[in-house]
């Protein structure tokens, strides 16, 4: 007695630029076709903030740079059967992870924040303080790829990935016959 239903998809943007979410829209008119097969649960696209029920596919943009990213990512892992990391940031940290390479002192995070908010050559911050509102999530010591925090099932490469590779991956997974990417589709930029 299998219930014939639309596949449920959830998406989240962690430490990324939201470009991969915009790339999802690059699916263009095929989006209409896709929406016949899926319904979107938790996602910034629907503005649904919590999972309403278990999802078939979770799509993660961005890596983990703060505690909230970790919390959201774990939530996605618990509530999604298949988890996809989309774009370079989710897969390997991406541009936010550049901070991993420039933090060198014994107090790397402080050095990084001071450079960003106080001492940097082009900073005009009249408060001379690092922002510290209680609502701000705590930063992690470095930026982590999603796969270091939870197990990831698929990676869609690109910065951002093309509409084609996103569409074909999703369509393939939904049809149960995804078997990897065409060589021409793989791009790191």
């Amino acid at each position: 007695m299998t219930e014939l239903r639309k596949a449920r998809i959830a998406t989240a943007s962690l430490a990324g630029c939201f470009g991969c979410h915009m790339a999802i829209l690059d699916i263009d008119e095929r989006l209409i076709e896709l929406m016949k097969l899926v319904e979107v649960d938790r996602s910034p696209l629907t503005d649904i903030k919590q999972f309403t029920r278990r999802c078939d596919i979770g799509i993660i943009e961005g890596g983990c740079c703060n505690e909230e990213n970790v919390h959201v990512l774990r939530d996605f892992r618990r509530n999604c059967d298949v988890l996809i990391a989309i774009g370079q940031c989710a897969i390997m940290g991406g541009l936010p992870a550049m901070r991993n390479a420039i933090m060198h002192s014994d107090a790397p995070l402080r050095e990084c924040l001071e450079e960003a908010y106080i001492t940097g050559r082009y900073i005009r911050n009249t408060t001379h303080q690092v922002p510290n509102d209680p609502a701000l999530p705590l930063l992690l010591d470095e930026v982590y790829p999603c796969s270091e925090v939870v197990e990831i099932d698929y990676n869609i490469p690109g910065c951002a990935p093309s509409g084609d590779i996103i569409y074909e991956t999703l369509a393939g997974l939904l049809a149960g016959k995804f078997s990897g990417f065409e060589r021409e589709q793989i791009r790191f930029d």
């Binding site: 541009l95 550049m98 793989i186 930029d189």
Partner: protein, 237 residues
Amino acid sequence: MTGFTFTIDGVEVAAKDGQTIMEAADAAGIYIPRLCDHEGLRHQGSCRVCTVKAGGRSVAACTQPAQAGQAVENETPHITKLRRDLVEMLFHEGNHLCPICEASGNCELQAMAYRLDMTQPTKFPYLDPCRALDASHPDIALDTNRCITCGRCIRASQEIDGKGVFGYVGRGINRRVAVNGADLSDTDAEVTDFAISKEVCPVGCIIRKGEGFSIPIGEREFDKSLIGHKIEGKKRD
């Protein structure tokens, strides 16, 4: 000069005495992936991406002499896996953020990853080097965080330009390419040197100022064709 034949992935290839496996393969229009080797420069055999199996042993095709009757394995799944590991090591050793690199699309390291079907370099930990940029020269900049220590610039400067602008320093993971002086402006490097030309540096380490991002995405060399296409194209001629 006498000659002989051997096979690469079952295809018979003619070779002259003293030729390396790669030289014979190139002449026959068979591409063996490589990064540190460059036509016209001395073979170095350091990147190991041209690893092939010959006579049951893994050897570097760029330095290993071809042998009569030998069966060489080139693009087998096992060899391709080894090469993918090596290319991935190079990605993790340096800072290779393709989206912000002006070599992207023309980069041989990136193109090699594409050819080897690497989805994304994620296998190893990133070493995140932070070496100082050398922008001292009016026409040339050097970002050795992107250097894959192939040494093509070293040999090009010595053998073609007759200069010796570059050289290796350090040992082990700290081995890197350095310049013959305090910085690049302290050397006799010129932007017209062959060593500085875009043909020599396979990545975005040697930068010619004022040239970046001039070719739109989609029209760059490896947007359109796989690395090795020039050699493989010879086969069809």
